[in-house]
Symmetry: D2
Subunit: 118 residues, 4 copies
């Protein structure tokens, strides 16, 4: 529903980026309240970066910006780095497992979007 | 799906804010390409402000911030101002009609959230 | 220099918010690399919130938004909460001491701006 | 003053991005209130994109993010596109002339920063 006003070809990617932004913000906060926070520092950093780029990507796509693709290309890279880190903790922490999945889906959606809008 | 990691009580409000942010960014862009842009200047300004606050509200809620309520309170005010302006153009412009609806839903969700998390 | 295009009455407040946003982002990162991260969790949270609101406030002021005052009012509150937390660590950590000062200056500039622009 | 807590090597680039973000937000707003807004539509779009990336770049640098360089690389591209458009109106509109200069300085600072931090 949320994205019917945005350019049609970006719908799936907007939703994946919205999901990923929220997952990363929530995962960073959950990491910050784990007992061994120090072990989660790298995860918190990447969650933070990934959330920021995802919100930015949503806004560029929703605005129909001519730079939407380039923002999504960078977004895909940061999503993959964040997924990789979250996956290290996925066995023990459900928030990292869920966040890694959201990051993988988002990276895929960004790469699909880049292919489409040539 | 996107918000399952975020605090449970914020789910509906996060979705309404995501929808509203995207609708406002898209509406501003559509307004900017109308023939009579000058008539849409106030709408573009309010779309711009409303989108920014909505993204900010999503991020505060997703992070479980202690200031989420206060950000949502301000968000509701801006949503209402934006809805009021968009409604003036709703008969002639579908993007303004849809955006006004997204803004009204978001304002309502923000006010409901404020009531809940006392 | 940076703000000469922005509304004249906001110059001082824009600069204080820019300073505070950067200080909070930098302090959060420094906190995250302290040995006892757990002790810094609350500080990291408030730095995160404060940075976000400061960037938002800068953008509202630079855009000449009609909601600039209200954003600055909320910004002042978050700055004060962040300053209070940072001050607890100011004796031992220079980043917290500097960040607390930036937050206090920013809160003051936001309150002064609110008084001015009636 | 504002950036003393941020990584030393980013100081100049942070200041240039702060300046550019504010200039673009202010220029977009000034364009929106020109008599012939339609002629300024492209400028408003690029100002909007450029402001967003500049704020994002500031935050990545201030946080000491490992992706700061890549964000600045994209930022430089958007700054150059925005400068090019603003320069078309620079003779008649002082806000476009000043904004174009801020964009050129920012693009240069971003490229210099990318060279430095190998």
């Amino acid at each position: 529903m949320a994205t019917t006003l945005a350019p049609q070809q970006y719908q799936a990617c907007i939703e994946a980026c919205q999901d990923c932004a929220v997952s990363c913000d929530a995962c960073a906060n959950a990491c910050l309240h784990e007992q061994d926070v120090q072990m989660m520092a790298r995860c918190i950093e990447l969650d933070r970066d990934c959330a920021k780029l995802c919100y930015t990507a949503v806004s560029f796509m929703a605005s129909g910006s001519g730079f939407a693709q380039q923002v999504c290309e960078l977004c895909a890279q940061i999503c993959e780095a964040c997924a990789e880190e979250c996956e290290k903790h996925a066995d023990h922490m459900d928030h990292c497992r869920q966040c890694a999945e959201a990051c993988r889906r988002c990276a895929e959606a960004c790469r699909a979007m880049m292919g489409m809008s040539a």
